[in-house]
Symmetry: C2
Subunit: 322 residues, 2 copies
């Protein structure tokens, strides 16, 4: 990870400190619960992308910091709410806020982090209104993606278009906004931020599809949570949709994927059907197409060190195993 | 209710239409779930207060509408999240979103409505940055109040100061912001919006304390939910705190209020102890003090019809029974 952030290591340390400082509340219980996920670590991909986006304009760390911190807060808020929704007990190898303090605290802490991000974003209002506009729009779309995921769960009649619609909203939009708005925070015009935005959209799609593939085929110890979680919850991801088109065992897969309560053996059987028909390989090909597109977009930008970082991040998404 | 809104009836109809229009989503499932609470009705107190606040300045309905709708969206979001947290099945006499569609949908719909409010609020950014600043700050504080309520639940050692801290955050701040920001949206200066703000804070406190009293002594059919809900959930409200100071049966009340699982008889026994020592009457006196202060604040404002509305709203809070 460190290599990807080459040249912005010191700036990222400042972001980390600011993030930690933002999470200190008057109430020690709020500090404890809201910093729990912070201390569990994470790649801080969205803050890093905002900093790298900013490098294509008049980079001033102070101009990007509130945005960078706000992006991570929004991301953390969604993770905490997701854990309530999924009843998840483990994330990043540690008990979730949900597991430690229950759904009541988690629901409010999630909203609290989201609201905290607004205070930071409101600093840009007068001079950079686009930042609030894009982020409020993205926040609505993220919820839409999550809700659509619920209403489409266990539905084996869906097609890849339905899946891409959700992935765009759930994940790609916030990553897209991170790169774009980093540049905007430092005064970029459309000519600069539009290629960055498209780059972000493409790596965001690739990132989530990879996540969904790894949910089936990763090494559990590296994933930090049990394999097959999506299948168990009825979330129909790209490998399932492809297997439903390609596999000779479609009938059995429809039965398995659509079943509300699955045994461990049934989950494994479904993964085996998906894997054996080549749906995993095909899904990785889709990932690679998004990553190629992302890298093409970078060509419209000046050849700065930050462009190499962004390119390396795209490569990293293509090879990550957890 | 209609009399309280005398002079703004037509404007409130426009708010209602705009609110409904805002809740129409592309995804029919999102429209259905997010309009569920809308159709259950409600007083629309916060939008009304924003309109009345605006009357003290250069009132233009179009200038207040986005704020008015946003305030109700924020309020709805908190109600939906509260129902997840409390496992509530009934609100306003109807099944909650939580009861109908489960906690996953409710959690995301709550956040969705909150995010939707941001889109509306972001319209004010360039010209009225105070609106976003106040509302993001209030949103954080509302979560803080809710979280503090959880960490203080079943704690019979708390005092009225702890209770007022939570009530201010949970309820009073948003009501305060409604009246204040309505005026700000129409260009009011501090001299106008500060008395409105203080009025809002005082009626907000009175409103929540009344709510907490009625949770114990209201007619269940009028309350729209079972009586004694707070006690059952371990939320220690003003009547309990006063009874813990005044009642001869303190020891038994500590036992009952601190008990995690209470039988129906125990809830009724606790209410009887609270009622018989005069804690309900004393709590109503506290409400009346807040209402008097609210009405005093109004005296600093010009004698416009809207001032009569605000005064009547304060009176209504003092006599409401559900």
């Amino acid at each position: 990870m460190l290599e990807l952030y080459k040249g912005i290591e010191e700036d990222m340390k400042v972001v980390e400190k600011e993030l930690q400082a933002t999470l200190q509340a008057q109430d020690p219980f709020i500090t404890e619960t809201s910093t729990h996920l912070f201390y569990a670590g994470g790649k801080r991909l969205r803050p890093a992308l905002s900093l790298l986006g900013a490098k294509f304009c008049n980079f001033k760390l102070a101009d990007v910091i509130p945005l960078a911190v706000a992006l991570e807060l929004i991301h953390m808020a969604t993770l905490i709410h997701d854990d309530v929704v999924d009843n998840s007990l483990i994330r990043r190898g540690l008990p979730t806020v949900n597991a430690k303090w229950g759904k009541a605290t988690s629901t409010h802490i999630g909203t609290y982090l989201f609201a905290k991000s607004l205070i930071l974003i409101s600093q840009y209002e007068e001079k950079k209104p686009l930042i609030t506009k894009v982020l409020s729009d993205v926040s609505v779309k993220m919820c839409e993606g999550e809700i659509r995921q619920i209403s489409a769960s266990f539905d084996t009649g869906q097609v890849s278009k339905d899946y891409f619609y959700r992935v765009k909203r759930k994940t790609a939009f916030l990553i897209m906004a991170s790169v774009q708005l980093g540049a905007v925070a430092c005064g970029a015009d459309r000519k600069t931020y539009l290629p960055l935005r498209r780059y972000g959209n493409n790596i965001g799609m690739a990132f989530q599809i990879t996540d969904d593939i790894l949910d089936m085929v990763a090494d559990q110890s590296k994933l930090g949570k049990p394999v097959g979680g999506d299948l168990r919850q009825g979330i129909i991801t790209l490998p399932v949709i492809i297997a439903l088109e390609k596999s000779g065992e479609k009938k059995r897969l429809v039965e398995l994927a659509g079943k509300m309560e699955k045994s461990e053996e049934e989950v494994q059987e479904a993964i085996e059907i998906i894997r054996s028909c080549g749906a995993i390989d095909y899904s990785f090909e889709v990932v690679n197409k998004y990553l190629s597109k992302a890298k093409e977009e970078l060509m419209a930008l000046p050849d700065l060190p930050a462009r190499n970082n962004l390119s390396a991040i795209a490569d990293f998404i293509g090879i990550r195993k957890h």
